[in-house]
């Protein structure tokens, strides 16, 4: 009887520890490979005006039904939330590449999941290109 109890106790302890480790591992877990995800989420634009880029990102997100939560001109980021019976959160960043180009990256979270499907990002960049009158190029 005592033996069974000891086995049960150690089993419970082991399971609770492994559960803990599992959740901590999830903090940095992604499903797609980093390189693939970066290419899905990023585009290059032929402009050097980051302020204009960020302002256009804000206007585009508003057109898409987002409310802008936060923006930082120094860091070059914009965060926004869309509520439509679901919660969609995005962060868009813009950083210069060379003197004439800008890399724009958008990452989205739908309810409690990272969006890893290419199509929504494609739609976002199509809308952004239209607003900028510039073509979005794939990241090489």
């Amino acid at each position: 009887m005592r033996k069974t109890l000891a086995v049960l106790c150690s089993l419970t302890f082991a399971l609770s520890i492994s559960g803990c480790a599992g959740k901590q591992k999830k903090i940095l877990e992604t499903e797609e490979s980093q390189v693939k995800l970066r290419s899905i989420q990023s585009r290059v634009f032929d402009t050097a005006d980051r302020n204009l880029m960020l302002r256009t990102v804000i206007a585009t997100l508003q057109d898409l039904g987002f409310v802008i939560d936060d923006a930082d001109d120094t860091l070059g980021t914009v965060s926004a939330t869309k509520l439509k019976r679901y919660v969609l959160r995005v962060t868009v960043s813009a950083r210069p590449r060379g003197d004439r180009q800008m890399i724009v990256r958008c990452n989205a979270q739908y309810n409690l999941q990272t969006v890893e499907d290419p199509e929504p990002y494609q739609q976002f960049f199509t809308s952004l290109s239209k607003a900028l009158f510039l073509e979005a190029q794939q990241l090489e």
Partner: protein, 179 residues
């Protein structure tokens, strides 16, 4: 052949939770695409002011949001943004009485709305050297007495936007033009 009742109920519940869970995981196809209502919403939410003083417009907007009981959470003048929120008790006594009676009749725990959080975000964007567009967007979340979210949406009531811009015009002594 009939399954025990408990087993049937648990099967139905697990099937329902599975199917609902499956729905939640997929992002709707148009979530990041322009909708047919985009242009209408933009017109509803924007006004153009004949000024080149963006800081003055942002200051007036911040003051107006404070007048309306919002607290400013974030702002970035370099990008023309103010983000604010307001939380209020929305318990309606009539609704509570109705829901309690209904709950007793149906034998289910009654639920009613108790709390609302409204988020307002003001964005200014220079159009040319003499004009600046101001766009405000509101969204709200409502919770019930069980702390469950019952509403999660953008507010698209034209009156709210008209009232906001009428007050903003007054506070900046400028006429706001519709786009």
């Amino acid at each position: 052949m009939l399954l025990p009742k408990a087993l049937r109920v648990s099967l139905i519940i697990s099937f329902l939770s599975f199917s609902l869970g499956a729905c939640q995981h997929r992002i709707p196809k148009d979530a990041l695409g322009l909708s047919p209502e985009s242009l209408r919403d933009r017109q509803l939410q924007s006004r153009i002011f004949e000024t080149n003083d963006e800081k003055m417009l942002l200051t007036a907007s911040a003051a107006l949001l404070q007048d309306l009981g919002f607290t400013i959470d974030e702002s970035e003048v370099a990008l023309g943004l103010i983000h604010s929120a307001r939380e209020r008790d929305v318990t309606d006594k009539g609704e509570v009485v109705g829901k309690v009676i209904l709950g007793v009749l149906l034998g289910a725990p009654p639920t009613w709305d108790t709390r609302q959080r409204v988020v307002a975000s003001v964005v200014t964007k220079p159009i040319d050297e003499k004009r600046i567009a101001v766009r405000v967007t509101f969204q709200h979340m409502v919770w019930n007495n069980q702390n469950q979210v019952t509403k999660l949406e953008q507010i698209n009531d034209p009156e709210i936007y008209q009232e906001f811009f009428a007050k903003l015009s007054k506070s900046v002594f400028l006429t706001a033009h519709e786009i």
